[in-house]
């Protein structure tokens, strides 16, 4: 508890500086509303239900897109490492699309699937898949030949070793890839909702901004930041648990 307090004390200082700068008139309250106003607006959004409804829509999209990207991306990466033809076929495509800024796909998925959940899920799925694929591929490719052979000599079929040896060997890199994907999913979620949506936290930010309700807008921005932070923390915890054998 005490350690956490010390650790996050810079955050507290920043909050104090924010409040002071706006109250003392160093910064226009139009550009940056005082933190206390933002917090009050945040309470209002929570009480009015806006934050819950839009938050739920956003989390559903991010969760579904991310889950798809993990399942498909992970399977693809392992398959590329295990069967050469798959790698020959898909390797160049992965390399080509990996560095592409995925936000460029926002209009594309909106064109295909409209302004609803589908276009966001597809966008997040496509955008988050490649880091997962590469993580799974690199992890699976580096799996130790002797481990595979050991499993085979203890009666495991070739396919069985894929699950028993290759996938666990790939896990550390795969989990790192998923962490990248997790951060990316927030970026893609908010930017796509800002541009092409009628619900969601990103949409709410845009909507409040256009209406000039800046304290509430800042409240939603802070919410998104908090959600991203918590998600990453929880994920790191989980990762440490899963990889406790590494020590």
């Amino acid at each position: 508890m005490k350690r956490a307090l010390v650790r996050y004390s810079p955050l507290l200082l920043l909050a104090l500086a924010w409040e002071a700068a706006t109250r003392l008139g160093f910064v226009s309250t139009l550009a940056l509303p005082p933190l206390s106003d933002v917090l009050r607006a945040w309470g209002g959004l929570l009480a009015g239900g806006d934050l819950w409804i839009n938050g739920a829509a956003s989390l559903y999209r991010a969760g579904a897109g991310l889950a798809l990207s993990i399942v498909v991306g992970g399977a693809l990466g392992v398959a590329m490492a295990w069967w050469r033809p798959v790698n020959v076929l898909l390797g160049p495509l992965v390399e080509m699309f990996y560095p592409m800024p995925k936000s460029a796909l926002i209009p594309v998925t909106a064109l295909w699937l409209g302004f609803g959940d589908g276009s966001k899920i597809l966008l997040i799925f496509l955008g988050c898949m490649l880091p997962v694929t590469l993580g799974a591929f690199n992890g699976a490719r580096s799996s130790d030949q002797a481990l595979v052979w050991s499993a085979r000599s203890m009666g495991a079929s070739r396919l069985r070793t894929l699950w028993d040896v290759v996938v666990p060997s790939a896990l550390p890199e795969l989990l790192n890839g998923i962490r990248t994907a997790l951060a990316l999913s927030f970026v893609l979620l908010v930017s796509s909702e800002l541009i092409a949506a009628r619900t969601g936290l990103g949409y709410l930010i845009g909507f409040l901004g256009e209406g000039g309700v800046y304290d509430a807008m800042f409240a939603v921005v802070l919410t998104v930041a908090l959600l991203g932070f918590v998600a990453d923390r929880v994920y790191q915890r989980l990762m440490r648990r899963v990889l406790q054998w590494r020590e």
């Binding site: 002797a146 052979w149 085979r152 000599s153 203890m154 896990l171 020590e247």
Partner: protein, 264 residues
């Protein structure tokens, strides 16, 4: 001796063809027969293909030229009749000692209680009780290799393939493990093929030592090395020392050849 040979290697050659770079002739025209329950060491300079021969018998690599038969059947794939122990242990790092030993047992169709009992007895056998729930990363090299040996012995293979199993251990641990391996082999005899480049280890452990030539590996000589291994001061006894010297001379020629061909 064809009648009671368990492993028959008949004019086997093997060429590695890496995706890039030159092909490597690892083995050339190797023939060897090993009796059931015999302890044979494969000795030779590094890169002479002795590990390759072991992997071929294990069924991990496809046999190109020649045939390998185990109990009369050609080897086409790995099987639990041939257990293997690697130099770098090849334990599943995400499994505990117990789970590593249980892995092979799960494929034998035993009941859960039987599996647990068998795992426990083999962990006992290699002296690792108290470490059942440790992960490999928490163990010393010697303990890792004990776990690997327990894991392989637990599924009771008729043939034990050992690929420089003590090569990664310090001298003291190695000597202890050698004695333990002999004890295990004397209690429950198995056919052992033991790859090493340590002459003294080969002479001490094996009943026959197969000396292989520098790359491409051929059988250069087969030397009988049957000593009373429980004799005190065996290592200092004259016949033992002479045998080591005799084999050393054979190996040294080949090591020099290997060095020259690598352009040192």
């Amino acid at each position: 001796m064809t009648g009671n040979s368990q492993i028959v290697i008949d004019r086997v050659s093997h060429v590695y063809r890496p995706p890039r770079g030159r092909e490597v002739r690892a083995l050339e025209d190797v023939s060897l027969e090993v009796r059931g329950r015999e302890f044979v060491a494969l000795l030779g300079p590094s890169g002479c293909g002795k590990s390759t021969l072991l992997y071929l018998i294990g069924g991990f690599l496809p046999t190109g030229t020649g045939t390998i038969r185990v109990d009369g059947e050609p080897v086409t794939r790995p099987g639990s009749d041939r257990g293997i122990v690697f130099q770098h242990f090849a334990l599943f790092p995400w499994k505990t000692v117990r789970a590593n030993v249980l892995y092979g047992l799960e494929k034998l169709g035993l009941s859960r209680a039987e599996r647990e009992e068998r795992a426990r007895s083999f962990i006992d056998l290699v002296g690792l009780n108290g470490f059942e729930d440790s992960y490999p990363s928490q163990l010393s090299g010697g303990m890792k290799q004990r776990t690997a040996i327990a894991r392989t012995l637990a599924i009771d293979p008729q043939i034990l393939l050992m690929d420089e199993p003590f090569g990664a251990l310090d001298a003291q641990t190695r000597s202890l493990m050698q004695t333990e391996l002999l004890g295990i082999w004397q209690r429950s005899p198995k056919t052992v093929l033991f790859v090493t480049h340590d002459v003294q280890e080969a002479v001490y452990l094996a009943e026959r030592v197969v000396v292989m030539s520098a790359r491409p590996g051929r059988v250069k000589a087969i030397v009988d090395t049957n000593f009373d291994r429980n004799a005190p001061n065996l290592f200092k006894s004259k016949p033992f020392v002479e045998k080591v010297d005799e084999i050393w001379a054979l190996v040294r020629d080949e090591a020099l050849k290997a060095q020259r061909s690598e352009g040192h």
